[in-house]
């Protein structure tokens, strides 16, 4: 059961006033423009035991994503496709407000939005990950551990998941004598496009991207928009307890295309370097 609650982070009145004043002048407390991302770092292959991995820092938000590939049954209704399973855990290391335990609704939403960006953009051609149609398929686990949380976990986690997938080398399984055999060889994942999400939030009448935790604590509404490599939209998730005007949404969509392309260039660069 979903429940509205106080933001866990309390931004003091004076600080919030400063934030609003800065925003009214097109600036933010950390000096950024409204449409400016924070510094963004990717390190690949940080977890050798995974089939692919990435550590992403977006400002002070930090996420490690790891890929593990197994075989198993396909999902019901998707018998001709490999299975993709995205999970996320906001580790209790990440902030004073995280309680260890099973994922809460915010973490479930986070994992599902990251999942949809990958799935709906058809980033992976899952039809190429089938061993016995309807029976045995590749199962790709994308697990994301959020180590430090300072806002915009949607994008930080999505970038970590996508770059871990792009740089992964997945095992080649074969069917031999009715059994699944790990051949010991590896292959590139069947990637077709690079989905990139851009999250915008509204504070009063201003819309700004890549919010910090402090900004999220003051936000009225949030929207995460994922585009693919040719600039089409693949997934959207509006969140938080406020609303947007239609114009604000259309503008955020355009921002997602433009800023998403910047991020995509960077992801391509980094993952090719190591490819």
């Amino acid at each position: 059961m979903s429940s509205s609650k106080r933001s866990t982070i309390i931004v003091e009145h004076l600080r919030k006033q400063q934030m609003l004043e800065a925003i009214s002048q097109g600036k933010r407390l950390d000096g950024r423009d409204l449409g400016e991302m924070r510094p963004f770092e990717i390190e690949l292959n940080v977890i050798k035991k995974a089939d692919g991995s990435a550590r992403v820092k977006l400002g002070n938000s930090e996420v490690v994503a790891g890929i593990k590939v197994e075989t198993g049954e396909p999902f019901e209704g998707l018998e001709d496709k490999g299975a993709l399973i995205v999970s996320a855990e906001v580790l209790p290391t990440a902030s004073p407000y995280v309680e260890p335990g099973p994922p809460d609704e915010e973490t479930i939403e986070l994992a599902r939005v990251v999942d949809r960006g990958i799935r709906e953009s058809e980033m992976l051609d899952l039809t190429k990950l089938v061993l016995v149609p309807g029976k045995i398929v590749y199962v790709i686990f994308v697990d994301c551990s959020i180590i430090n949380a300072d806002g915009n976990l949607f994008d930080a986690t999505s970038y970590a998941a996508v770059s871990a997938l792009l740089s992964s080398q997945i095992p080649i399984f074969e069917i031999q004598g009715g059994n699944v055999i790990n051949t010991g060889n590896r292959q590139e994942p069947p990637a077709t496009t690079i989905p990139v999400s851009i999250t915008s939030i509204r504070i009063g009448d201003a819309v700004l991207i890549d919010p910090t935790a402090e900004e999220e604590a003051c936000m009225d509404a949030r929207i995460t928009i994922t585009t693919n490599s040719i600039g089409n939209f693949a997934a959207v998730q509006k969140g938080s307890t406020g609303a947007f005007t239609v114009e604000q949404i259309k503008k955020a969509a355009d921002t997602a295309r433009i800023k998403g392309e910047d991020i995509r260039v960077k992801l391509e660069e980094v993952t090719k370097k190591t490819g």
Binding site: M1, F233, G239, A243
Partner: protein, 246 residues
């Protein structure tokens, strides 16, 4: 979503006979749950959904109460027999997410400051699921909130648009949701002209995105009239019906 069949025929008719701008049949009945403070039953295409509202009432446990406004709680749940394959009664991750976005889509319409330290609980039970059950659930919940007499800024309406056979269509049904190539559920407050829910699954170009959003909002406005009618029907009965017919 991968498109596999012809879902719109040469005459522009969809699998269920609608044009691309038609809503499915919608029927809303207000006040169906005797014990609830407000309730509504919606049939939206083949969706059959009950929404019940309890509150404003005391929060349990008390420390969950907020000093300056009401806590809104929301549960979206599917009965095991509501889907083609039996659904496990335990809440799925999908239901957890929909409960959250449903709450967030209703909250902007509610004047929660009017009920400090209290809670309002919204329970949405899907007895039969068709495409667009989250939109239908929001529509019913909004009517149930009004039926409960909760102070509201606006009624939240909801409707999805989607892409089928590369065309943007209104109010995606189950087949179109599964076979079509994009689905965009939207919730919208008609008087405040604001969007409170927006999701997208599937590929849209920039133009399709804008067309889809505009079309979904057009759908919301139509649905809103049905919500209004259902509430008037309950509170003013046949009298209203006669007036409308004039």
């Amino acid at each position: 979503m991968t498109q596999t069949k012809n879902l719109i025929d040469e005459e522009g008719k969809r699998t269920d006979g609608r044009t691309i701008d038609d809503l499915r049949e919608i029927k809303i009945t207000v006040g169906v749950i005797r014990n609830a403070d407000g309730s509504a039953f919606i049939e939206f295409g083949r969706n059959k959904i009950i929404a019940a509202v309890y509150g404003p009432r005391e929060v349990h446990p008390k420390h969950m109460a907020l000093p300056d406004r009401c806590v809104l709680k929301c549960r979206y749940h599917m009965s095991p027999f509501s889907t083609d394959t039996r659904k496990n009664p335990a809440p799925s991750r999908r239901e957890v997410e929909i409960s959250k976005v449903m709450r967030e889509s209703l909250e902007p319409a509610l004047i929660l400051e009017d009920y400090p330290r209290a809670t309002i609980d919204v329970f949405v039970e899907v007895l039969q699921a068709d495409g667009g059950s989250r939109c239908a659930g929001i529509v019913a919940a909004s009517v149930a909130l009004a039926d409960a007499g909760i102070n509201m800024r606006d009624i939240v309406s909801a409707c999805a648009a989607g892409k089928v056979d590369d065309r943007i269509v209104l109010d995606v049904n189950d087949t179109e949701d599964k076979e079509g190539s994009a689905d965009m559920p939207v919730a919208y407050m008609p008087h405040l002209d604001q969007v409170t829910l927006l999701q997208l699954d599937g590929i849209l170009t920039r133009d399709q995105f804008n067309e889809s959003l505009d079309k979904a909002i057009m759908g919301c406005k139509k649905v809103y009239e049905i919500q209004k009618q259902a509430l008037m029907q309950k509170y003013f009965g046949n009298e209203t019906e006669l007036k409308e017919e004039q």
